[in-house]
């Protein structure tokens, strides 16, 4: 199969930007990625927009003003995993031989506060009051605490780490360090999950320029290789997530993160032990704990020990969310995974400034959301 490479990345800060339209937010990220790749918009052969909350044909609306060059542009949506799915479409286009240089853009400008529940739930669920997204995270956390002795302090420690990391990330929405006490005393949103432990929907963009090996070699001496990019949907009753209305007692299938990560590990011949930096879906702080186990960083039930031992801190063996994660960046859904990719690329190129993990060579980005949509991308530097 044709090897594929990232030759340019760009980001528009995640946050709230008043009247600035999504199109401008998106184009800012594109211009940065094109400049990073040392190319112009005219060189792009196809483009994919990852978004969940923008209207129809937003990809064309955002990108055609850069030059109506006639290239195919389409919109891709898979909830929190949208970016991974758009990236995968772009990679398939390169691998098929259809194109040599393509762009993936993720843009979002989400309404403030809770997302419109009818985007995710049936009307009856909304009317009965079962449309609070964090409640799903909270119920999984409560069960994990019951089965494995995970504590509220373990959960708070994840938030503590990510808030601390965010101070160094100019692209994050919140860049303030909080004490464990402040986190543990912040308002309960859905027991046991608290306000300083969850992510907020917001605005932002990230853009990635991808190329075939031949093209990448022409453009840069330091391309980052896409070692794997996998998208799967949760199998039956393998994941309790929005908008599930029940789950099975008897049927135990491996969860979407486990399945997707395993496929990515196999495709890349890279094991979790070999990965230097991770960006994962900390929609809430407990979710990150669960992901440690599902990615194979520790056995089931031992995520609390992992955070206690500092393994996932920037100075640990497997730093997770050096960017501050979704808890601090916010989650502009369509841009989220591509923002993770940008962070990993900067880490692998040694351009992550005060967030830099020394000698990072391999990184993994993970997203997971509504409907059990999961995407895992593994990136590596060329030896």
């Amino acid at each position: 199969m044709t090897d594929t490479f990232i030759v340019g990345v760009g980001m528009h800060k995640f946050g709230r930007f008043g009247d600035k339209p999504a199109s401008e937010i998106g184009r800012d990220a594109v211009q940065m990625a094109l400049a990073d790749a040392g190319i112009s918009w005219r060189d792009i052969e196809a483009a994919y927009l990852s978004t969940m909350y923008l209207p129809a044909t937003s990809g064309a609306r955002i990108l055609r003003p850069l030059g109506a060059t006639g290239i195919p542009i389409c919109d891709v949506e898979a909830a929190c995993a949208s970016g991974g799915v758009a990236l995968r479409q772009a990679l398939l286009a390169l691998q098929s031989g259809a194109h040599e240089l393509v762009l993936v853009l993720g843009v979002e400008k989400m309404p403030r506060g809770f997302m419109d529940p009818l985007m995710l739930y049936d009307r009856w669920q909304v009317e009965m009051g079962m449309s609070t997204n964090p409640s799903y995270w909270a119920m999984r956390a409560r069960r994990h605490m019951h089965e494995f002795g995970t504590t509220e302090k373990h959960i708070a420690k994840v938030a503590y780490k990510n808030h601390k990391n965010s101070v160094h990330n100019p692209y994050a929405m919140y860049r303030k360090e909080f004490s464990l006490d402040e986190i543990l005393n912040s308002k309960l949103v859905c027991d046991p999950i608290r306000l300083l432990e969850i992510c907020a929907p917001n605005e932002g963009a990230a853009a990635i320029v991808l190329a075939t090996e031949k093209k990448a070699r022409q453009l840069t001496s330091k391309p980052v290789q896409v070692a794997a990019c996998v998208h799967t949907l949760a199998r039956y009753s393998s994941d309790f997530r929005v908008p599930a209305e029940s789950m099975s007692v008897n049927c135990v299938n491996p969860g979407p993160t486990e399945v997707t990560a395993q496929k990515a590990f196999q495709a890349s011949s890279i094991s979790p032990e070999e990965i230097d930096c991770f960006e994962v879906q900390d929609t809430d702080a407990f979710c990150e704990l669960e992901i440690y186990e599902q990615l194979g960083l520790c056995p089931l039930g031992e995520a609390g020990r992992l955070i206690d031992e500092g393994v996932t801190e920037p100075s640990g063996r497997h730093p997770v969310n050096t960017s501050g994660g979704l808890i601090c960046k916010g989650e502009p859904v369509g841009a989220s995974h591509l923002g993770q990719i940008a962070e990993i690329v900067w880490q692998l190129r040694g351009q992550a400034e005060s967030r830099q993990i020394p000698k990072a060579k391999v990184g993994l980005a993970h997203v997971l959301g509504a409907g059990g949509n999961c995407a895992v991308t593994i990136l590596k530097t060329l030896q």
């Binding site: 009856w124 909304v126 009317e127 009965m128 449309s131 999984r140 029940s246 007692v249």
Partner: protein, 153 residues
Amino acid sequence: METNINTGQEQRRLPIKDGLLTAPLFPLEYVRLLGSKCPACGEVTLGTTSSCPNCAGSGLQPIPLANNGTLWTYTVIRNRPPGDFRGPEPFVPFGEGLVELPEGIRVLAPLGGNIEELAIGMKMSFEAYKLYQNSDGVQVIAFRFVPSSPANK
């Protein structure tokens, strides 16, 4: 749509979702939750449905689900849920949880009772109730689980 045969009054009721509750909807004490059992793999899923999400089999049979179960996990909804929530005004925090039923299914439901007393493993009982009356005067019937009274524990 049904008329209350006990009172003879014209009183119309609808389930909040088709295929989720047994008929008739009078009296409410006799209403039960409906599931579907797959003849091929035996999995039970919530509500009436034609194909099995586990094995893609067909010919699923509707079955009434047990009224009594165990709380498997829960949370407390502290703020008014977004969208067209039909619960009481002003908002009162309530429990939400997965209740495990003997048919091998855990059902997500609002929980009645004291939010301070919720605990994993506690016995819960099914309850159908009038959630609201729609603009046509029809009572919309929803469901929740409440902590079992000592009598039916």
